[in-house]
Symmetry: C2
Subunit: 218 residues, 2 copies
Amino acid sequence: MCGMARPRKPLLSRERIVTTALALVDAEGLAALSTRRLAAELGVSGPSLYNHFTTKDGILDAVADTVIAEVDVSALATGTDWRTGLLAWARSYRAALAAHPHIVPFLAQGPGRRPAGLKMADAAFGGMVAAGWPPAQATRICAMVRYFVAGSALGSFARGFVDDPSAYDPADYPRLGQAHLLAEHQQRVDEGAFETGLLALVDGLALRHPESGPAPHR
Amino acid sequence: MCGMARPRKPLLSRERIVTTALALVDAEGLAALSTRRLAAELGVSGPSLYNHFTTKDGILDAVADTVIAEVDVSALATGTDWRTGLLAWARSYRAALAAHPHIVPFLAQGPGRRPAGLKMADAAFGGMVAAGWPPAQATRICAMVRYFVAGSALGSFARGFVDDPSAYDPADYPRLGQAHLLAEHQQRVDEGAFETGLLALVDGLALRHPESGPAPHR
DNA sequence: ACCTGAACACCGTTCAAGT
DNA sequence: ACCTGAACACCGTTCAAGT
């Protein structure tokens, strides 16, 4: 009768859909994102979404690009030392993904044609080449940073272990006696592993830089 | 009638279900694994699966443990040099996951109570501690290897870029001019990045070992 | 242009019924 | 014990109908 069918002002926009979808995925996981549930959250009926996106995957694509757009690539600009740039980029990259762990599997399928993903790849690859890395090596560096960041954001290492001592019978797993304690130190363990690994990776790479001296041990 | 209801010999077994599920996931992805589809592949009706697993997630759990069981941890045994052990473990770990990329997101949720996952964690942690690493550092090493391996198996870096030059407009992405070529060198790029990253990581770690001299530049 | 409800071919899971 | 079909509450997506 009155508020039905088409209102004078659109109820939806791509932006509102993406924002709500990201909030839903963050709060309840990828499985909770159904078109019907998302539509309900937006106060419309399910099929309405198809006026703004051709497919549910299209929505996820836009969500993924929003997340990548949060990554700060400014430190990769020409002129900065490559180690400093790489460290800052990787930390920002991880922070962005760790804030939205549930879309990481989707995100890790690569930039494809998503603008924020391509902008990041352009900045990272360009930054490494400008710092003197041969293109093939610059590509590998971008790839290994993606591996490390995506892997660390995909799921907590520490929370992978159950918070229950009886799960780790010393007869079966003699060296996992403390494993049940990992869960409660989740953040410390995961961030420590990422940070230690990142610094080790950069030191190891420094040994391979065309104009390298010895790596700094800090 | 004749072949209906319960046959004298069970039609299904946990093992047959897991094997078929893994084959289906490998061939068509996680989304193709529905209980109805899996049951059809096994020649039974959907609900039959619930006589052997309490839930679809339980099936995936068993599939994940099967994949981890393929990882060779023998090089982590006490007595081997920790670098050699770590490299061999990480390579075997990556090979196992890369053979079944579609279950990596599920796998990366950690070992939980899965026996093969726990056996691997026990061997890796124990191996690093036996090699002189303090327990906290050994934990971090296990975590960072998981990050790197899972991230690299989760999705190809190279195939993340579309095989279409027009996707990467030089005006928008000035340094991605060759990006469309990545797809065709997918395996070389991804394996090169993993191998380079792994060696860099180990060299970087060697600088931090309690009894370390300088890292070898291989 | 942008929303609606109805409809289609799917899901995971439960359950009573068969042997 | 182990399989079946029917049923329940869901899915993603299409489409004709409304304004």
